[in-house]
């Protein structure tokens, strides 16, 4: 299992690009952390996740 934004997903073996597309995120509007390390956008296609990984996908929202 891979924890994506707090939820367990069957995503082991997939690349970050695949995950973003399948889950419906806008790749140009998000930043991605894999096990607390930021992954550059250019590496989404070549970075695969494995069992036990934690992925955080964030974007900007309104705030003060």
């Amino acid at each position: 299992m891979v924890k994506i934004n707090g939820k367990d997903r069957e995503a082991a073996g997939k690349t970050l690009s695949q995950i973003l597309e399948e889950e419906g995120y806008q790749p140009l509007r998000v930043a991605v952390e894999l096990n607390l390390e930021i992954v550059p956008k250019a590496a989404y296609g070549s970075t695969a996740v494995k069992d036990g990984d934690t992925v955080e996908i964030v974007s900007f929202v309104g705030g003060g």
Binding site: N5, G6, E23, G24, Y25, Q26, R29, V30, A31, E33, L36, I38, P40, E56, I57, V58, S59, F60, V61, G62, G63, G64
Partner: protein
């Protein structure tokens, strides 16, 4: 007034009113920016939502500087993490550090804020720390590489105005960085007063988000901030400790 610029880490701004984007519809942002005359708008970083396809970046007019905050951070390490993610989102190096350990009053943790400022300034961020107005902390923030200091006027979202007025004045008088009054400013008159005191800028979010007519209130704030700035630059008239002084000469024919 024409050449009067707000300068933050070498970046020049004409507007001295920083706008928040929280707690109101994305569709109102464009009007809020326009009526506020704002050149800087704050935003937050959160887990992305796949069900919402509207993104705040699509609503912010071109040329407006984005100031991401680190709200949600409970310590320096979390603030640093959020700041790095914000930079990765690709909208520049500005960051407003916001670290709250206290969940009831949402007061900033000054010590952790200094620590986060030091780390992020070294990484090339333009660091604008939100803080409780304390001169010693402000000096520490200067030494840590802050670009501005952002003292709170009263608790976040309270609209209570300049509860910490005397302590903000000390920062304005003693700190060489721009002092930007943040949090708690609820009315245009309070924004104006902060500017009359010599604040470099005022930031407001809730005062607009909870107003009856947001764009109209944004315009009221713009005018108030401009009036306060002009008053400050003009040099306020003196206050008498006691007694009175006539505005016209008392000698006159009635007493002859």
């Amino acid at each position: 007034m024409e050449n009067d610029k707000l300068v933050i880490a070498g970046h020049e701004f004409t507007s001295r009113f920083i706008l928040g984007s929280g707690k109101y519809s994305l569709s109102l942002i464009e009007a809020a920016v326009k009526y506020a005359g704002a050149e800087i708008i704050t935003c937050a970083v959160r887990r992305a939502n796949t069900k919402e396809h509207e993104n705040i970046l699509d609503f912010i007019p071109k040329g407006v500087t984005l100031l991401p905050n680190t709200s949600g951070a409970r310590n320096a390490d979390e603030a640093v993490r959020i700041a790095r993610l914000a930079r990765e989102l690709g909208c520049g190096d500005f960051v407003k550090i916001e670290i709250m350990r206290d969940t009831k009053y949402l007061l900033p943790d000054n010590a952790e804020t200094v620590r986060a400022t030091e780390i992020l300034a070294k990484e090339g961020f333009i660091v604008m720390p939100y803080m409780y107005p304390d001169l010693n902390t402000a000096r520490d923030l200067v030494n840590a590489g802050a670009a501005t200091v952002m003292p709170l006027a009263s608790p976040i979202g309270s609209n209570k105005g300049l509860a910490t007025k005397d302590f903000i004045q000390i920062l304005i008088d003693e700190i060489d960085l721009p002092i930007i009054v943040d949090a708690g400013i609820g009315r245009p008159s309070q924004a104006c007063e902060a500017m009359e005191m010599g604040a470099a800028a005022v930031m407001s979010n809730t005062a607009l988000a909870t107003a009856g007519d947001l764009p109209a209130m944004a315009e009221a704030f713009r005018k108030a901030v401009e009036a306060g700035r002009q008053a400050y630059l003009s040099g306020l008239g003196r206050v008498l400790v006691r007694g009175a002084a006539p505005s016209d000469t008392l000698t006159g024919f009635l007493r002859d």
